[in-house]
Every structure is written in structure tokens, then in C-alpha cells.
């Protein structure tokens, strides 16, 4: 592999990292918001969210990405590839994250919330100061798992023409006729990216020990 092949690989890795990072950020926050809304059990809205979650969880990423990219013009939307890719990844991961957050809500100790309310905290302060910090720690293993699924599933967005870390290996081997080196480097780069997440997870686990009373 020559210098330009290396550069292409790094650019592909960068595309994978930034598109995944944006989708993860959207997905974690949107998932929490959906879980919060579902707590309120508002008629119709709750059913719509359940429908969204089951559809999004059942749809392959490639299908979702294609659908969004191809249907956007019909809806009068001018989506560029990156936005369509982020939308597909976010819609997918949000559905899974919403379920992770929801189970964290369900399992949260009622006694602890009561103790918070008893000191005069409003439900919002109780959520922000007592529940959320603990829910983040207990949900992190599940969330990080979902993050690494998202990264490993991200090559799906190549279907709408995004040149990510996997797609770029094809382009390189099309020139060099040596498919093995670029795919090995790509594999190593994926491992490095996931490795960062695993490190984050280990950090969280150390704090989680404290919560086990």
C-alpha cells in the first residue's frame, strides 16, 4: 500500500467515526427523551412510539438507509448523503436506546426517589440529581454495547454512496489488486475504535460497584 492508500483509509476511518459519533449522540439523548415521554403514558403518543420502536428494531440498516435516501426527494427534502446516513443510524439506535433507558427507569429504586422527595426535591430535581446519574452508570454497559453495534453496522451506509472505512478498502483494492492489506488495516482501525468504547465501559463498571448496596 502506498501513501495515498493510507490516506484514503484514514479518511474512511474519520468518516466512520464522525458519522457514528453524531448518530450515537443523537441516539442516546433521543432514546432518553422517548423513555421519559413513555413514562407519562400519554394515549396515542405512547402507541406511536411503540410502533416506531418495533419498526426501527425490525428494519435492517441497509433498508432503512436506502429508504431514507431514496424517499427524501419525493418528500421534497434535499438530503445529502451524510445527513441521510446519520438519520438512518440515529433512527435505528434510538429505538434500542429507548428500551435500555426505559428499563433503567423501571428498575430504579422507589425508596431512593421517596427519600429525595421527602427532602423537598421536586420530581425534576429528583430525576436530574438522584436518578439520572445512577441510571447513566447502570445503563452504560447496555448503551456501549449498542454503540459498538452501531459502529460495526455502519458500513451499511455505504449503500447510499458514503465512503466509510469498509467501502474505502474496496476502492483501494480496485487499484492495487491486493484486497488483503487494506482490509486488515481497516479491521485494526475498527478494533481501536471499539477499544475506546470498551475502555469507557470499564470506567463505568468501576463506579457501578459503588451502587451495589
Amino acid at each position: 500500500m502506498n501513501a495515498s492508500a493510507w490516506q484514503m483509509l484514514l479518511e474512511g476511518a474519520w468518516t466512520t467515526v464522525w458519522i457514528s459519533a453524531v448518530s450515537i449522540a443523537i441516539g442516546v439523548v433521543a432514546g432518553l427523551v422517548i423513555a421519559l415521554i413513555r413514562l407519562a403514558r400519554i394515549p396515542i403518543i405512547d402507541q406511536l412510539l411503540v410502533l416506531y420502536i418495533s419498526v426501527a428494531r425490525a428494519t435492517p440498516l441497509v433498508t432503512l438507509a436506502l429508504f431514507i435516501f431514496l424517499s427524501a426527494p419525493d418528500l421534497g427534502l434535499d438530503l445529502n448523503r451524510s445527513v441521510a446516513g446519520i438519520l438512518a443510524l440515529s433512527l435505528n439506535t434510538t429505538a434500542f436506546n429507548a428500551e435500555i433507558w426505559r428499563s433503567a427507569f423501571r428498575n430504579f429504586s422507589r425508596e431512593q426517589s421517596e427519600a429525595a422527595m421527602a427532602t423537598g426535591m421536586t420530581p425534576w430535581i429528583t430525576f436530574r440529581r438522584i436518578m439520572l446519574p445512577q441510571m447513566v452508570i447502570t445503563s452504560l454497559p447496555g448503551l456501549v454495547n449498542e454503540m459498538s453495534f452501531l459502529i460495526k453496522g455502519s458500513p451499511a451506509i455505504a449503500v447510499i454512496g458514503i465512503v466509510d472505512l469498509t467501502r474505502v478498502t474496496n476502492r483501494i483494492s480496485a487499484v492495487t489488486y491486493e484486497p488483503l492489506p487494506p482490509i486488515l488495516v481497516a479491521g485494526a482501525l475498527y478494533m481501536a475504535i471499539i477499544g475506546c468504547l470498551v475502555w469507557l465501559q470499564r470506567l463505568a463498571e468501576r463506579r457501578a460497584n459503588r451502587l451495589a448496596m
Binding site: 425508596e111 431512593q112 421517596e114 427532602t119 423537598g120 463506579r207 451502587l211
Partner: protein, 262 residues
């Protein structure tokens, strides 16, 4: 007893309180008045409604009928007779401090921050001010040396003492104790009771549900006996423990090893 008078002067004033869970009446027309500086102990067999009564005082349980005033202010229901908005309810609740059977400390916060959390985020105290207050309270309960520890490293008795400091930190009008020693190993009961006894000596107003008869006799100004949601006897501790009026209480005390005077 005119209503305006008593609700204005009493720390806690409970009138005509009734509550049912499904078909079971757990509180029936309960009337209770706690004067400032008074220690009231609620006694009764399990299922008699004593914890529910205590939890109604800070509106963790909502009664079906009746009213509760804390230092003259009605809790849970606003002037228009509607359920209080959450912020208003939280404000009245802050006038009460509660200590739970299971401690219920927040495990993600260390001892100091368990105590400073509400003063900072509810009362808007500065961090320094809250920490000074917390340190003083932790000294009072003998836990200042553990201020940087996390709850999972403490014994039950230590946890409960921190929980008492946490409740005191809001400088409540009345402290509510819901069986504070029932979850403790026998050898740890004493350290918690000693702290509560100190508080009563300092003039704190307290309402306590407990099974510790000797302790109730030693610290109470008023003992209330609850049976199937009904207050069937109330008296000063001497009268209550030596010459109970009803057979029911006599039998209850026999089964609980009536304490000799402390």
C-alpha cells in the same frame, strides 16, 4: 379546639384523616396534634396503619379524606381545594424530615454530599454554607470521620445516622422516623437510638413509629396506639405503659415485654 387555632400553633395537626388501600381501610378518622418540641410515638401491631399515617404527614401517601397541616400550612391540597402543584408540595414537604427503615441513602453520593444535596439544590444554599452545616450535623450524629466515604462501605447503624443528618440538614419543623431501627442488627440499634435521644433532648419535634418499647417510654411525650387504622389509646408514656386503659393495649404490651422504667 377551634381549627384555626390548633393548626396555626401545632407543628403537625392531623384532622379526620382516612385512607383505604383498595377495600381495606388503613386509617379511620385519625386525629393527632403534635406540639412544637413534642415527641410523639406511634405504636401498634404490623398492619395497623402506623407507617401509612407517618407517610401521609409528608404526603408520600395521599389520604382519601381529612387534612394535615405542618406548622399551620396545609400539605397536599391548595387553598382552592385542588391537589398541590409539585413545586408547592415540595416546599411544604421540605418542612418535614424523614428517616426510613431502609435508610435509603443515595449510593452515588458520598456521605457529605448525601447531606448537602438537598440544601444546595432545594434551598439554594451555597456549597460552602451547605458543607459547614453538613459537617456540624455529621459531628452531631458521630459520622464526621466518614464524610468522604460512600454508603456501601458503611454499617447499617452508620447509614441510618447519616440519613438522620440528611433529614436534619433541611432544618425541618418536624422529624418523621419510620421504624428507624427495625432493619438493624441488634448490636447496632443502640447507636441510632442514642442519636435520636439526643435530638429529643435538644427539643426537636418528632413523630416516630417504633417497636422499641423501652425507648418509646424514655423519650416520648405522647404515645399513640393504633389498631386497624383507629387510634384506640393515647396517653403520656407513664400512664400508657403502666396503666393502659384497654385490654388490647395491655395484651400488646405483655407480648412486647413491658419495659421497666428507664
Amino acid at each position: 379546639m377551634s381549627e384555626a387555632n390548633t393548626s396555626e400553633t401545632a407543628a403537625v395537626s392531623i384532622r379526620h384523616l382516612s385512607k383505604s388501600f383498595d377495600d381495606v381501610e388503613v386509617l379511620r378518622d385519625v386525629e393527632l396534634e403534635v406540639k412544637t418540641g413534642e415527641v410523639v410515638t406511634i405504636i401498634g401491631s404490623s398492619g395497623s396503619g402506623k407507617s401509612t399515617l407517618l407517610r401521609c404527614i409528608n404526603w408520600l401517601e395521599q389520604p382519601d379524606r381529612g387534612s394535615i397541616h405542618i406548622a399551620g400550612q396545609r400539605i397536599g391540597v391548595n387553598d382552592a381545594g385542588r391537589p398541590m402543584p409539585v413545586r408547592e408540595l415540595a416546599k411544604v414537604r421540605a418542612k418535614t424530615g424523614m428517616v426510613f427503615q431502609g435508610f435509603n441513602l443515595w449510593p452515588h453520593l458520598n456521605v457529605l454530599h448525601n447531606v448537602t444535596e438537598a440544601p444546595i439544590h432545594v434551598q439554594g444554599k451555597s456549597k460552602r454554607e451547605a458543607e459547614e452545616l453538613a459537617t456540624a450535623l455529621l459531628e452531631k450524629v458521630g459520622m464526621a470521620h466518614k464524610r468522604d466515604s460512600y454508603p456501601n462501605t458503611l454499617s447499617g447503624g452508620q447509614k441510618q445516622r447519616v440519613a438522620i443528618a440528611r433529614a436534619l440538614a433541611m432544618q425541618p419543623t418536624v422529624m418523621l422516623f419510620d421504624e428507624p431501627t427495625s432493619a438493624l442488627d441488634p448490636e447496632l440499634v443502640g447507636e441510632v437510638l442514642a442519636v435520636i435521644k439526643d435530638l429529643s433532648a435538644e427539643g426537636y419535634t418528632m413523630v416516630m413509629v417504633t417497636h422499641e418499647m423501652a425507648f418509646a417510654r424514655a423519650v416520648s411525650d405522647q404515645v399513640v396506639f393504633l389498631e386497624k387504622g383507629l387510634i384506640i389509646e393515647r396517653a403520656d408514656p407513664e400512664t400508657f405503659f403502666t396503666t393502659p386503659k384497654t385490654d388490647r393495649v395491655r395484651k400488646f404490651l405483655e407480648n412486647h415485654d413491658t419495659p421497666s422504667p428507664a
